[in-house]
């Protein structure tokens, strides 16, 4: 079906009339109907659609919260409690928003690790990947500011500690922090601007997601084999094949999401934040939301280096840990995309995942506590240093070296050949060809 001939049922005349003036129908048809997707997606390819669903969910619930929320230091906490107790269905809308943020990060992190494993960031998808990292950064900023809004103890002290990080900037640090706060502490001006930005940023995310999808539809999707489709045999139209698969995945997701929202709504949250912000009393322990914990661990792990004081070094390392993702396409130089055909990379990939999980665990622990009973000298700070070092070694040393020295397994001839079993993916290839450089579609 060509892009110009859209299916027209009843009312087709109107659709045609509109489409010849503003081709939204043929655009949808082309990009979401016919879009030729590799036939071999596995369930890891569901997470992009799930992220899209969550973005919409966050915007809708957020908008409804905004109708009842009051951004003022004297009223914010009470207005959120009122949403929970008095506003009709307010508890539901808020719990979806609160837990939606956590699930959004789970989904996006899986989406990102999927890309790392299957080499979806490699040429020609570098910009697609980098736009994804931009989305991640915007999400982090959004949820950081959102967490300040209910004005609980952790809202206030989290905001204080994180904004104070900018005081590490040489010379202008203190001026920058005062500027961020609009005062001499985190206070009402800070809450107001965070609220305005928390409202705005999700719509910027929508814009960047749009670019992300445009870039995707230019290069086409990667797939678990990491080889480009060569013929029509290798692809299926997005609709109905993947609309159905995505819908099924969404159903499974919604079951899990609903279990948390209805039966364990506080699973991801810290009870401390149900105490109103008190600027004279710092809580015993300040922990960020779970999805920031690995970065928090990196922040705390780095000691002073040469002339850079520890505070600044930690901040640099924390930002570097995300910015390194931007250059991943040039660090991982392997010609073969998919981890399926990279026997050594595969090990390092799982070590990397485990390392990130340990970093997250360390981020939630007091640095001076010992890791194992009885081994006094090995505290969480030490573990944090080791895992932080490994995080960077993985990107800066392991990946470039693997790209040079790893011998990948032979690639299948085509997606359809591998899927239809004319040849086993990963097994010896008929022609006996060693892995070729990434083929051109």
């Amino acid at each position: 079906m060509s892009a110009n001939s859209i299916e027209t049922g009843a009312g087709g005349g109107l659709v045609k009339w509109i489409d010849s003036r503003l081709p939204i129908f043929s655009y949808m048809q082309k990009e979401y109907g016919e879009y030729p997707a590799p036939r071999n997606f596995n369930y890891w390819w569901n997470f992009g659609a799930l992220a899209m669903f969550l973005l919409v969910t966050m915007i809708v619930t957020g908008l409804w919260l905004a109708m009842q929320y009051t951004p003022h230091v004297d009223l914010a906490f009470a207005s959120v409690q009122r949403i929970m107790r008095d506003v009709n269905s307010g508890w539901f809308i808020r719990l979806v928003h609160v837990n939606g943020a956590s699930f959004f990060f789970i989904v996006v992190y899986i989406h990102l690790f999927r890309g790392m494993y299957y080499g979806s960031f490699k040429a020609p998808r570098e910009l697609l990947w980098m736009l994804g990292v931009v989305i991640l950064l915007l999400m982090m900023a959004t949820s950081f500011m959102g967490y300040v809004l209910p004005w609980g103890q952790l809202s206030f002290w989290g905001a204080t500690v994180i904004t104070n990080l900018f005081s590490a900037i040489p010379l202008v640090g203190d001026a920058v922090v005062t500027w961020l706060w609009g005062g001499f502490t985190v206070a009402n001006p800070t809450l107001n601007r965070f609220y305005a930005l928390h409202f705005l940023l999700p719509f910027l995310i929508v814009g960047v997601v749009g670019l992300h999808v445009v870039a995707l539809h230019v290069t086409g999707s990667n797939n678990p084999l990491g080889i480009e489709p060569k013929s029509k045999q290798d692809t299926v139209p997005f609709h109905p094949y993947y609309t159905i698969k995505d819908s099924f995945g969404l159903g499974v997701f919604l079951v899990i999401f609903a279990i948390v929202v209805f039966f364990a709504p506080d699973f991801f949250s810290e009870p401390e934040n149900y105490e109103r912000a008190d600027f004279l009393k710092t809580p015993e322990e300040i922990v960020p939301e779970w999805y920031f914990l690995p970065f928090f661990a990196i922040l705390r792990a780095v000691p002073a280096i040469w002339f850079i004081e520890a505070k600044l070094a930690g901040v640099i390392a924390m930002f570097a840990s995300i910015f390194v993702l931007f250059v991943l396409p040039w660090l991982d130089t392997a010609k073969v995309r998919s981890g399926k055909f990279r026997p050594i990379f595969r090990w390092f990939f799982w070590i990397f995942i485990a390392n990130v999980l340990v970093l997250g665990y360390v981020g939630g622990k007091p640095p001076n506590e010992t890791v194992f009973e009885g081994i006094e000298s090995f505290d969480f700070l030490a573990l944090g240093r080791i895992t932080t070092a490994w995080y960077f070694i993985h990107f800066l040393v392991v990946l470039p070296l693997l790209g040079r020295f790893e011998r990948p397994l032979p690639l299948p001839e085509s997606i359809s050949a591998a899927v239809l079993g004319t040849q086993k993916g990963g097994g010896p290839v008929g022609s006996g060809a060693a892995a070729k450089p990434m083929e051109k579609a």
Binding site: W181, F184, T282, K311
Partner: protein, 180 residues
Amino acid sequence: MSEQVQDHDGHDEGRRDFLYITTGAFAAAIGAAAIWPFIDAWNPSADVLALASTEADLSAIEVGQSVTVVWRGKPVFIRHRTEEEIALANLLPEDLPDPQSDGERVLKPEWLVVVGICTHLGCVPLGQKTDDNRGEYDGWFCPCHGSHYDTSGRIRKGPAPRNLDVPEYAFLTDSSIRVG
């Protein structure tokens, strides 16, 4: 440029470059000037700056006691130091991270006035109550990342880079001060 360069249409390139560059420079300057108000609007406003000073009555604070007053939305610690604490503050070890003598930090030895915000990342250190953990140097202890301050509010151990700030203050009478 002394030499007149003409392109193949007979235009004067020197003149054209000049026009491009001046137009561009003006546009950039106006653009920057237009952005400035948006940046400046984030700086503390006049009403926030107007809250600049706080008065505190010291007469009720007994020796060994501390109180917290609020100045510009920040806690300010006022400690009526004991003889012992003053003596401790005057012991000046050589390896202070932020070297300052006690004399530089107080107006009257028995009164220490410092901003109660850890210079690391802004938590409020413990130590205002006598049963608080006051750290290894008997001043204040910041629970966030473990900074220890001494009885002069100087950083002695932990990640904080600077001593607790001493705000600008003056004695109005023998038993009252104005901070800010």
